[in-house]
Symmetry: C2
Subunit: 142 residues, 2 copies
C-alpha cells in the first residue's frame, strides 16, 4: 500500500484526484497506476484501470488470477467491473468512498448475482493517509 | 448501429465475443471499438471502453458530453461506469445481457443514487442481428 499511496500523492501533485494503485504478482509489484483522466484525455484512466492494463500487458495475458490489487480508494463500478474481468485474486483498498464507491456502497458490485468473479476483499489498510491526501486535495481546490 | 454491428462481426471473426461500439460526435462517428481483451492482453478492452478511449483521444478531452455511444450489447458495470465518467449524452444498445449487463440487469448502475451521470438510454435497436451474432459465436465454440 506504500507504493499505491506514493502514486496517489504524485497524482495529486499533477492536479488529478489523488488515487493510486499497484498490481502485485507473486510478491512483486508488476504495475503502478495513478489517477490521470485529465492529463491523458482518458475518462477510464482511474488508478486501478491504469495498473490493471499495465499488469496485463507486462504479463502478456488478460487474466490476472495470480495477482492482487492494492488501491488507495474504494473502487467505483467501472474499476470493480475491471477487477472482476481481470480475475484479480485479492483486493486491498484504503479509504471508503461513500459517493462513488461500488464495493461497500452504491451498486455493491461484488455482491450482485450477475458478478462472475469476486476477489477476497480487505478494506481499511492505510485509510488514514489515503483519506488525508483526498481531503487536502479537495480543500486546496476550494 | 450498422457500424457497431460491423465491428461486432469483425470481433467474432477474430475469435473475440462479438460486441462492437461506436462513438458519435455531432452526427459523425469519431471512434469505433471492437471487443478485444484476448488479442490485446487487456481485460478492460470491451468495445465500449475501446471506443470511448479512442473518442476522448481524438477529441482531446476526457469528457464527451456532446457524444453518443452505440453498442451492440447491454453494457456491463465496467462499461456503464465508463459511460458515466465520460458523460456520454445518449446510450443506444442492441441486445440485452441478462448475465453480465448492468443497465437493466444486475447492479442497474444508472439507477443507483451514487451514479453521478445518467445518459438518455435507448435499448433494442438492432437487437435481432446483435443477438444472432452472439448466438452463432457461442454455438460455434461448443
Amino acid at each position: 500500500m506504500r507504493a499505491a499511496l506514493d502514486a496517489a500523492a504524485a497524482a495529486g501533485v499533477a492536479g488529478e484526484v489523488p488515487v493510486g494503485a499497484v498490481v502485485v504478482h507473486r510478491g512483486t509489484i508488476v504495475a503502478t497506476g495513478a489517477n490521470a483522466p485529465r492529463a491523458t484525455c482518458d475518462p477510464t484512466a482511474h488508478a486501478e484501470i491504469v495498473a490493471i492494463r499495465a499488469a496485463a500487458a507486462a504479463l502478456g495475458r488478460d487474466r490476472l488470477e495470480d495477482c492482487d490489487l492494492w488501491v488507495t480508494l474504494e473502487p467505483c463500478a467501472m474499476c470493480a467491473g475491471a477487477i472482476a474481468h481481470a480475475r484479480i485474486a485479492r483486493l486491498y483498498y484504503a479509504a471508503p468512498d461513500p459517493k462513488g464507491g461500488a464495493v461497500e456502497h452504491g451498486p455493491r458490485f461484488f455482491g450482485q448475482s450477475t458478478c462472475h468473479h469476486r476477489p477476497e476483499i480487505y478494506p481499511g489498510i492505510g485509510e488514514g493517509e489515503a483519506a488525508a491526501l483526498l481531503r487536502a486535495f479537495f480543500a486546496g481546490r476550494r
